[in-house]
């Protein structure tokens, strides 16, 4: 067989010279990347019209692996930077992919405001319950009582429920999956990419090096078995049912709203209206 025929079918979507990735053996982020690229492939998305923006941390590196226009921002600022891109180029498909610490601790304010504005953007959060890149510290999604390098006696903080947060802030599409649901995740990404408005997908990811080994999930297999055991799929589209805890993780789609006015459409309509009125001389511009 020729070497060319042995190429991975998704290779054309990855950036030359950037693979292999930096993620640990057993990390779940590769599954998220895979699901994202398959979703793009199946939708036949124009890679020239895709903008991928990420923050800092393990998942922050994903922008570099995708063969589209991509920006690796500062910690927590992926969403506002993506917002700037989207406002200038509303024709582009803008996707933010990052981790739970980046999006919900240091960047939490930007998340709720982007959802509130309902800007057309897909945010995918790989939630691994901790700060993996920096060595496994506690984060805003770390379960109560879990052990991390900075909660050596157990975590005393209550975690965010990201689905509740996204739904309350105004997202028009909200789903949660885990990396043991790769096909459902892919379908969800496809759906979200076709929605007009602020969409959010949480993916519970595997992190053995940072989180698992301190919480009796030493290997990726153990971690995945645990995810399989505790995941419950719901089809009821009710965010109030989106429980997440060590005993049970409810996954599925929780919000799917149509018809909520989208930010860039409102913005363009406003600009066009003002522009017309100004050109007709109906607005006094003098200093």
């Amino acid at each position: 067989m020729l070497a060319a025929e042995l190429r991975h079918p998704l290779e054309k979507y990855t950036r030359e010279g950037m693979i292999p990735h930096i993620w640990c053996t057993g990390c779940g982020n590769g599954i998220v990347l895979n699901a994202f690229l398959r979703a793009i492939d199946e939708l036949g998305l124009d890679m020239d019209k895709l903008a991928v923006i990420s923050g800092i941390g393990c998942m922050g590196r994903i922008a570099g692996y995708i063969n589209a226009d991509a920006f690796h921002t500062t910690h927590g600022r992926a969403i506002p930077l993506a917002f700037g891109v989207k406002l200038v180029r509303p024709d582009l498909k803008v996707v933010v992919i990052s981790g739970d610490g980046d999006l919900f601790a240091i960047g939490g304010n930007h998340f709720i405001h982007a959802a509130r504005r309902n800007v057309d953007m897909l945010v995918i959060c790989a939630n691994n319950f901790n700060y993996g890149m920096t060595g496994g510290q506690v984060g805003p999604t770390t379960p109560l009582e879990a052990f991390t390098t900075t909660t050596p006696y157990g975590n005393i903080e209550h975690p965010f429920n990201l689905v509740h947060l996204a739904a309350a802030a105004g997202a028009v599409y909200v789903a949660r999956w885990t990396v043991v649901h790769p096909r459902r995740l892919k379908e969800s990404i496809k759906k979200a990419l076709q929605k007009r408005g602020f969409s959010f997908i949480e993916v519970i990811s595997v992190c053995t090096e940072g989180f698992g080994r301190r919480n009796r999930l030493r290997t990726a297999i153990e971690f995945m078995h645990w995810l399989k055991r505790v995941s419950v799929i719901t089809k009821r589209m009710d965010p109030s049912e989106a429980y997440i805890g060590p005993d049970r993780i409810v996954v599925g789609e929780f919000v799917d709203i149509e018809g909520k006015p989208e930010y860039t459409e409102l913005l363009r309509a406003c600009i066009e209206d003002v522009r017309r009125r100004a050109e007709r001389g109906e607005i006094r511009v003098a200093l």
């Binding site: 950036r15 010279g17 950037m18 890679m47 020239d48 019209k49 903008a51 923006i53 590196r61 922008a63 570099g64 063969n67 589209a68 226009d69 991509a70 920006f71 690796h72 921002t73 500062t74 927590g76 600022r77 969403i79 506002p80 930077l81 993506a82 917002f83 700037g84 891109v85 989207k86 406002l87 200038v88 180029r89 024709d91 582009l92 304010n109 930007h110 405001h113 913005l267 406003c270 600009i271 003002v274 522009r275 100004a278 050109e279 001389g281 607005i283 511009v285 003098a286 200093l287």
Partner: protein, 388 residues
């Protein structure tokens, strides 16, 4: 009634510096503004909120200054001239993303209408306390350009100039105004659009097709790379991490780190002759030289003129680009002068830059803080004392 163009409001006006700044930005082709309300810079964003939609531009009020600066970077990479305006506390919040703009070579303009600090300080009073922060506020080694206007007219003119520098050198450019200049009301002359247009500079665009384009490969003559933007098919990767010419992450390489940091600094340092601007008044034979910038330079000009009338050989060196600082001129002038007076509204900032170039025994520092800045009379007294 014949209506003129909406982007350039040609004519003679009587207005405040903040509004002149907004009009300068629009005349320069700025079509994106992201900001957060803060005294004494809010009038800039209010004017932009009113004016940008009229010319098809995007105005957005963000949730904070961290987001404002991030959105400006995103907008610039989406292909438009973009800016924000703030004051001390907001400027502090923007610092990390100023570093990102430096690292990713993002053309953008930040206006800092300086008030009194530290912290919340004196929000409605003028200050010049962010001079060092403008240069050193973000971490790591870098160079950028900062301009200090002293009048309403200069708020207009220097904002246009700031966009030209930003596009030309692909770096953040700061208009370092002070509250007095931002809020004072005086004459503004806006020229014909054609006159402004011929002064405008735009970023270099890729000259090779996607695939062959290295997004951070500098042109050897000016060390500035052409810029591909979102949605143009180049599939660039921009990162705050150390990267090579192709944008590839090179956190492993001492050579790449040196090469990148040196180039980011050198594209300003080696083009300094084309960047540095100053106003020099009677420096050739000056025994007493006053160094002042922003609104203080106007008192200084009057003081120096009156000193000359009284037979004192006084001169004025007013840095227009605070950064890069006109250091060669400062050194030459300092060598000849007997005394160099530095008048600024802070407790010792640009005076350090002067002391690096002039024997420090010659340097007299005249600090001011709070509502008041140096009057011409005060400076004249200081000149007379120094001339004795």
């Amino acid at each position: 009634m014949e209506r003129g163009r909406l982007d350039v409001l040609t004519g003679v006006w009587f207005t405040i510096g903040d509004i002149a700044c907004a009009e300068g930005a629009i005349a320069a082709g700025c079509r994106f503004f992201a900001g957060y309300p803060i005294t004494p810079a809010s009038e800039i964003m209010e004017r932009m909120a009113f004016r940008l939609p009229q010319v098809g531009g995007v105005y957005v009020q963000m949730e904070d200054e961290l987001a404002s600066m991030a959105a400006v970077i995103g907008a610039s990479w989406a292909g438009v001239k973009a800016m924000t305006a703030t004051s001390g506390p907001g400027f502090s919040l923007m610092q990390e993303n100023i570093g990102l703009a430096v690292m990713t070579e993002t053309p953008c303009v930040l206006v800092n209408v300086m008030r009194g600090g530290p912290s919340t300080g004196q929000p409605t009073k003028m200050g010049q306390q962010d001079v060092m922060q403008a240069k050193w506020g973000s971490h790591g080694d870098y160079e950028l350009i900062a301009l200090a206007p002293s009048s309403v007219q200069e708020m207009f003119d220097f904002t246009i100039e700031a966009f030209n520098y930003a596009e030309r050198y692909r770096c953040p450019v700061i208009v370092l105004a002070d509250e007095t200049v931002g809020h004072m009301r005086e004459k503004l002359v806006i020229p014909e659009p054609e006159e402004i247009e011929k002064r405008l500079v735009s970023r270099k665009k890729p000259r090779v097709p996607p695939g062959e384009f290295a997004p951070f490969m500098p042109d050897p003559e000016d060390l500035v790379p052409p810029m591909a933007c979102f949605g143009e098919g180049y599939h660039f990767y921009a990162t705050g991490l150390t990267h090579d010419e192709w944008g590839k992450v090179r956190t492993d390489s001492a050579e790449e780190q040196f090469k990148l940091v040196a180039r980011l600094c050198d594209k300003i340092r080696k083009n300094k002759d084309k960047i540095v601007k100053y106003e020099a008044l009677w420096l050739d034979d000056a025994d007493v030289v006053v160094v002042a910038y922003g609104i203080v330079s106007r008192s200084a000009r009057a003081a120096v003129a009156r000193a000359r009338e009284e037979g004192i050989k006084a001169g004025l060196l007013r840095p227009i680009t605070i950064w890069p600082f006109p250091e060669e001129l400062m050194a030459d002038v300092g060598e000849r002068a007997k005394k160099v007076l530095v008048a600024e509204v802070n407790y010792g900032q640009l005076v350090r830059e002067v002391e690096r170039r002039v024997p420090w025994r010659k340097v007299v520092f005249l600090p001011k803080l709070g509502e008041k800045f140096h009057t011409a009379e005060e400076l004249l007294r200081a000149i007379k004392t120094a001339a004795r």
